[in-house]
Every structure is written in structure tokens, then in C-alpha cells.
Symmetry: C2
Subunit: 241 residues, 2 copies
DNA sequence: GCAAAAGTGTTTTGCGTACACCCATGC
DNA sequence: GCATGGGTGTACGCAAAACACTTTTGC
């Protein structure tokens, strides 16, 4: 791939045929928010070598399949959801990362409404785990999780993507708790509320929380729930305090 | 990779052997700064199919080689430089992106001092191109270049990495012109100087520019030239105006 | 002396941040 | 009535932004 004379494709293919021996996988870090905690959807590894370890949801990319499509497929198969927030983060390709051979994996993270799937969760050994309680995982998945969490923290501070983790209607308290769970910090309630209301991203749906043991909060809906998944780059705003 | 019973590695390998038919490449977007312009190092494609198109510097990842090592190897082979700033950006894996078969490429960008290599530039059809003047490229390399440029713009606004593009000693004017070239904006000279001098990242080397047709500016050296390549994440500071 | 860029400070403004009290509801 | 969180406004400090004139050098 680096000589001076022009090659035909046939030459290129035959010269490099021994390189076409790798596999590509996608691994999805699927985040959810429940019980005031950031959680991630994991499956028991199906490899004996990692028999007691948890693993990210992933699969090999088919020979005639795009990586993005493969990650959507994995999500659809495991959660029943399509039309989700999904973003490529990093590619992990250490030579010895997979015991079965040279498998390079492209890591994605996804944000879903944890209440909204429930579907294929019971069968398979599929469970939600609090992100903070995961210490060891199969393969290099612990590192992948860390990288995706950092990416989430960084994105969330500049782009309004957290709405993908919430039900359609939510209170400001839920929204703030979610930010706090992701960022691992405490935020000032008044400043937080002020900021979000001024952003004009929320619509007051004129409903109140139900079944709470205290004064119920107002519920809001995100104005551009679907739209922002693709245009979020334009809305760079720091969420601080 | 998604059934319920445990598998041995041997089972896994044999079941999935048909997936091990892909190749991985790395492509490096090598940025340099010269003549007040941001430039990128390109090579004439060695494929007949793209005989008049420019291509990024890349190569197939060897079967027992890590992707990061492969990108360092490409850089070393083409510029003679090691110890450079190099960062993974994104992986491009569209099914039909390469005419020779399923080749998924991991894109990196690199920042080098354009004056400091010169080495292997003459042979091969290797040339520096102003980033703004590149319109078509071989494969999907135009898209890769755009993605890496966006990444550079974003990083540069928060981390002091631009020093990798400058010679050891430089004037504040050069530094500012570099920021302007990368970001495509004009910056206020007084605010820019103030900011950098207050950051305390620069050492005044007590020398003046040579061979300029006007009052010569003072030269500075970056205090942590080597160090910051690995610790730059800690220094998140917005470069604005 | 003139062109070209170096060098230098002040003022304004907006945003982030800290902070305390009353209100509505469930029990 | 009390516990729990909902809801609200103000004051301060800092950093970004806007802005103009004098100085030094080469020609």
C-alpha cells in the first residue's frame, strides 16, 4: 500500500490477501437511569473463559453490514428498541484482546429510557447494573465502559442528550438527579432550574408528579426530543454548577 | 455470540470462522502549519482506480500489530518522525468504502512541526496541501479529513496541543495565526496575548524574530512541550475571542 | 518618513456561583 | 404539625469581550 507504481485492484487484493483475516465487532454500552442511579445493560459472557464475568452487548459485524447498522441491530435484538440515541466512541484493537483471534471492536454508547423497554430482558442473562458497582468485566469491556462513561460525561456537559434517558414527561428534580448521577457531582437546585428554564428546551405539560410522598413537582416534556439526536452538535451549552 | 449456553473458545472460533475475512487499516491525517495555513500531508493514491486523487497516509494493520502501533509506524515511515502527537478519532467501516474488499479503517490525526521533517518528502508523491483547498480525495478520505479537522478544532479550543505544530521557538503572532488558521476565525490580538501570557505556559527565550520586514516579535518556548502530549486532558481551558 | 506589526490597559458586560426562605402535599 | 422536597430572587466576582494608541524595526 506504499509503493510508487500504480496498482490494479486485483494486484492489491492478491498482494494483501493474508491481511483479510480479522473480525470486527461492535460493543454497545447501553445506559439507563433508574432509582436515581446511572445503569448499564450487561449480559453474562457466553464464553467459558469468562464464565462468571459480565460482558457488554455486542456482536460480530457481518461481512456485508455497516458497523453502525450492526450496533443498531444489537440494540434492537436485545432491547426491542429502535430509533435510539447511539454514538460511536472509540475502537479497541489490541492484538490479544479476544481469545478467539484478532477481533477489533468498535465501541458505541446508547441512551435509552429504562422503563420503556422491559421487553427481552427476562430471558438471556441480561441485567441492569449500577455503573458505580461494576469492577471487573469480560475481555477489555471494563476499559470500554470507562471510556464510554467519560464520553457521556463530556457530551452531556455540552449537548442536551440526557432526555433520551428519561420518560417523555419528567420533573426538574429527576432531570437534575440524572445529571448528578452522570457527572458524579452535586448541583445547585436553583441554578439548575434557572438554567434549564431559560434554555427554553422544556415544555410545561401542566401536570404534576403522582404518588410522591411530598409536594409533587411539575412535569415537563423536552421540546425537540427526536430532533436533537441529530442536531445536538449545534447546541453546545455547558451544564455546570 | 448471543446464545444462552456457554461455549469454549474452540467452538466460538469454528462457528465464526467465516467472519474472519476483514482487514483493518489506519489512516493518518497529518497536520502541519506553514505559510500561515493549516496543511495536511497527502500522497498520490497508488491505485489505478484513484490515479489522480490524493490519499491519506495509511496502511493495513498487521495481524500481530496494535492499531496505535500501526499508525505510529505509518508516521515514522513517511515522515521519519517518532514521538509525535497522535490521537485516534473515528472508525470508518462502510461496506463499500474500499474497492479491494472489506477494509475498515481507524482514523488518526497527528500534529507535527512541518519544518522539522523534510526527510522522506521528496521521493514518493508526498505533498503538503492547504486544508481549505482539498475538495476530492480517494476512497472516503475526504470525509475522514473533515472529521479529523472538526476534532482538531474542538480539541484545540480546550487543550494546549497546538505547540506540536510549531517549532521550538515561536512568536505570539505565529501562535495566534495558527489558532486562526485552525479555527477559521479572527481573534483579538490583545486578549489573545493576555490569555497566553497569564496561562503561564510560555517561557520568554529572550530572542527576537529574524529576517522580518517589520519590528521583530519576542520568541517564546512552550514550557511543557513533551509533557503535555500525554497530560493534556487535565488542562481544559477554552481559547476564545 | 513610512509601512507593518509589536506591544500594552481599561472598561463593560454577562455568566457562573453562592445563598435562604416560604409553599404545597402526604402522612 | 411535621417532614419532605417544590418553588423562587438577589448579590458578587470573575473572566470574556470590546476597544486605540504608542513603539520599534526595515526599507
Amino acid at each position: 500500500m506504499g509503493t510508487a507504481t500504480k496498482k490494479t485492484i486485483q494486484q492489491l487484493v492478491s498482494e494483501n490477501s493474508n491481511y483479510f483475516q480479522m473480525a470486527i465487532s461492535v460493543d454497545c454500552v447501553i445506559f439507563g437511569f433508574d432509582n436515581n442511579e446511572l445503569k448499564v445493560l450487561l449480559i453474562k459472557s457466553d464464553l467459558e473463559e469468562f464464565h462468571n464475568e459480565w460482558s457488554l452487548l455486542g456482536d460480530l459485524v457481518h461481512l456485508s453490514e455497516n458497523p453502525d447498522a450492526a450496533s443498531y441491530r444489537v440494540l434492537k435484538e436485545k432491547t426491542g428498541l429502535d430509533d435510539v440515541f447511539l454514538e460511536q466512541v472509540h475502537t479497541f484493537g489490541e492484538v490479544d484482546r479476544h481469545p478467539a483471534g484478532r477481533v477489533i471492536t468498535i465501541a458505541y454508547y446508547s441512551l435509552i429510557d429504562i422503563k420503556h423497554h422491559k421487553l427481552k430482558l427476562s430471558h438471556n442473562e441480561l441485567h441492569w447494573h449500577p455503573v458505580n458497582e461494576i469492577h471487573t468485566m469480560a475481555f477489555d469491556h471494563r476499559k470500554i465502559l470507562s471510556t464510554c462513561l467519560e464520553q457521556l460525561q463530556s457530551k452531556v456537559s455540552e449537548h442536551p442528550i440526557v432526555f433520551n434517558l428519561l420518560p417523555e414527561k419528567f420533573s426538574l428534580r429527576e432531570l437534575q438527579t440524572l445529571y448528578e448521577a452522570i457527572l458524579g457531582t452535586k448541583l445547585d437546585r436553583r441554578n439548575f432550574r434557572k438554567k434549564f428554564l431559560m434554555m427554553n428546551w422544556l415544555t410545561d405539560v401542566n401536570e404534576l408528579e403522582q404518588n410522591v410522598t411530598h409536594r409533587p413537582g411539575r412535569l415537563y416534556r423536552f421540546k425537540m426530543r427526536k430532533h436533537l439526536q441529530t442536531t445536538e452538535r449545534k447546541n453546545a451549552v455547558a451544564i455546570t454548577y
